[in-house]
Symmetry: none
Subunit: 417 residues, 2 copies
């Protein structure tokens, strides 16, 4: 089954409030084998609500419509009025609904509801009223032309409350023509390169199985999906995904965790290792990301944010003359930082980062975005040069991502070795 | 002028990724007097992209269309193809665009782009190519039937990059009489407290001028807005905002910069001061935020991420017995960290952070979310206790925010003193 979601609210289209409801319903629907094929946001405007509601009604693929918001007691709420008008239903005052609104209001505020709340007891003929246990605006369920329409309030808690009604209306036989495989997450490889490596396997996919590459700041997320799937095809898709995973296993971190930081945490703990870092241009971002993982104190010992040259010399014993002859942004300094952090902390692994985040500080020889990342343990050391092309924040982000990728690869190799 | 926004991506309609782009463009458009009357999300599906694109084209009120995403090099990207087909334009291979893609790829990766990137050099006839300085997918500008259509990549930083092109195309006479004042940003004060302080001034606002408080991770953003505004009313709103700003000037950081980090940077430089920090539970996040500001190397000397107790002792001379008697998360340790960082670096100001980010590590006496932040210069030191109630990432974020607020207040006082 396919679905459409419409959220009503001027605050949504003007970016004053970030949507939570469409996101919530999308995730829930997909989980139930229902594909939300169109998600729309419209202002508190009769004309726009009507136009978008008709658009959803006219889509023959859509069998479930969720409409969210515009059910309040004030003058800028008219979702119900528009829906009733388009469907050709009369609105009537529902005494039973009004009593429930009164009870709720009295329970919460201890007083009678104001007169304008009566508006919330108006119900289109033919609609089933769904009692709202968390607020005054009731939900509605309307069946029309083979479509199920749910109208729910826009307050996130209340919208979520109505999910159980929607879920109940999804019948087993309507579920899951749609199937999405689990997500494979790669690092240390670009989207185009990965696509080329995977091409032979992707070409052998059944015709109606689709794939998606999602680049995320230096990671590539990949998954398979299809609209018409039975148990057999589901199994085949999973097998295919497994082949894809195994073919590029060196770059694949998702078997170890949801995030690269988490994957690294698992590998660090499995090998019982500790880490110390020294970062210059990332200014603490690498440490921040590593310590986003609960329990990272078990493997992350300390970090140095050596922003000034003096800090590099004083904290990590980078030779002053090296800074003068090779410059702070150099292979040698990155290696000194990695080794220095490791030795100071008596950690198993050390990492060093030096670079030019920009926008100032670049030169012809060493342009903005030039970065060196080094990694070292007791027996080996490695340094990589990167040239990023972003602005300051992007260069910091890409640098931390490159460092995490290097660390992941290092740990994977170490484990295999 | 009214606008429509369409974002393409199966990850968006299935709730895998939360939209950032529509939110960004909505906010920017509103600020320019353009009202985004419909915002839509569609999967990577030719039929749905086509259907929604036609829907936007047919809306006679819409004069500006922003289409975001589906411009990648892989087989699941076909936004351009669908648009060209619907508009009846041929796609041609643009050699100039291809050369720019090659240059960008070589600059970033040091190698030739793979063959499939050539797809990104396909341009619909009649479209103007907008060079992407942050990625390989170029933007497009198409004028058709009195509508301006912008097609931009879905990677958020790249999408944002193209805003300047869109902005340039909005003419003065097309702007709506909607006016939103500039935003006042406060720190170190809660929303309710600020609302109470501002009440007398807010009560004297003209009837149709509205106001909004937006709490943002410990900052409060405030602005005025109205729908029908002429020059005279605009001036009055600005005057009123100015009164509001002056009445709570101690908590107001926006006159010094767009972000709190920027405001701090300006004050640090104006007073010619240097800073060193030592952070435990934030793991580098404070350093990261401070160094997000270009030129922060002029005042930020170094940071210590002292995650282990041994690091606190070795790097910042926190007495071992203090850790044993008072614990790592204590007022005393925060002060030692601030003073130690300052003295090690011979900096003017030192800051220290210690706390329990969670989810583990809490106790009845010291629950998750307990944080101490200290600040010190040569003559004075101050420590504050916080109890946050978020998850690990929220607690890190709130802690860094509290530290920045303290530093801002410290610098403002110092300046006034």
């Amino acid at each position: 089954m396919k679905a459409g979601i419409m959220c009503v609210g001027t605050e949504l289209v003007t970016g004053l409030t970030q949507d939570m409801n469409a996101l919530f319903f999308s995730q829930k629907l997909v989980h139930q084998g229902v594909f939300p094929k169109t998600v729309l946001f419209v202002p508190d405007d009769k004309y726009d609500i009507a136009r978008v509601f008709r658009f959803l009604l006219q889509d023959t693929e859509i069998r479930l419509i969720i409409i969210c918001g515009g059910l309040g007691p004030t003058d800028d709420d008219f979702t119900k009025e528009v829906i009733a008008e388009i469907l050709g239903y009369q609105l009537y005052f529902d005494e039973g609904t009004w009593q429930k609104i009164r009870q709720f209001y009295q329970k919460i505020r201890g007083i009678e509801p104001p007169e304008n709340n009566k508006k919330q007891a108006l119900v289109p003929q033919g609609a089933v009223v769904l009692t709202n246990e968390l607020g005054t605006a009731p939900g509605l369920k309307i069946e029309v032309e083979g479509k199920q329409i749910f109208v729910v309030p826009g307050v996130p808690r209340e919208a979520e409350f109505f999910w159980s009604f929607i879920q109940q209306s999804i019948h087993e036989e309507e579920r899951l023509p749609f199937y999405r495989s689990k997500i494979l997450k790669f690092c240390g490889i670009g989207e185009s390169q990965l696509a080329i490596f995977l091409q032979p396997l992707l070409r052998s996919l059944p015709a109606d199985v689709r794939f998606a590459f999602l680049p995320k700041y230096g990671e590539i997320w990949f998954y398979l999906y299809a609209y018409q799937v039975d148990e057999e095809k589901r199994r085949k898709m999973d097998e295919h995904l497994d082949l894809i995973a195994r073919s590029q296993y060196d770059f694949l971190f998702s078997p170890y965790g949801d995030t690269l930081e988490e994957a690294i945490g698992k590998l660090m703990q499995a090998q019982n290792l500790t880490l110390a870092i020294a970062e210059s241009c990332t200014g603490g971002l690498l440490g921040d990301r590593i310590t986003n993982i609960p329990g990272s104190s078990r493997y992350f010992d300390r970090g140095y944010i050596v922003y000034s040259n003096r800090a590099k010399v004083e904290e990590l014993h980078v030779p002053q003359n090296l800074l003068e002859t090779r410059g702070a942004v150099s292979e040698e300094v990155a290696l000194y930082l990695a080794q220095g952090a490791r030795e100071n902390a008596q950690a198993d692994i050390g990492m060093g980062i030096t670079g030019i985040a920009g926008p100032q500080g670049g030169s012809e020889e060493k342009p903005v975005g030039l970065v060196y990342v080094a990694i070292a343990d007791a027996t080996q050391a490695e340094v990589k040069k990167y040239q990023f092309g972003g602005d300051r924040l992007m260069n910091k982000r890409f640098t931390s991502q490159a460092a995490l990728s290097m660390l992941f690869t290092f740990l994977r190799r170490r484990k295999t070795a």
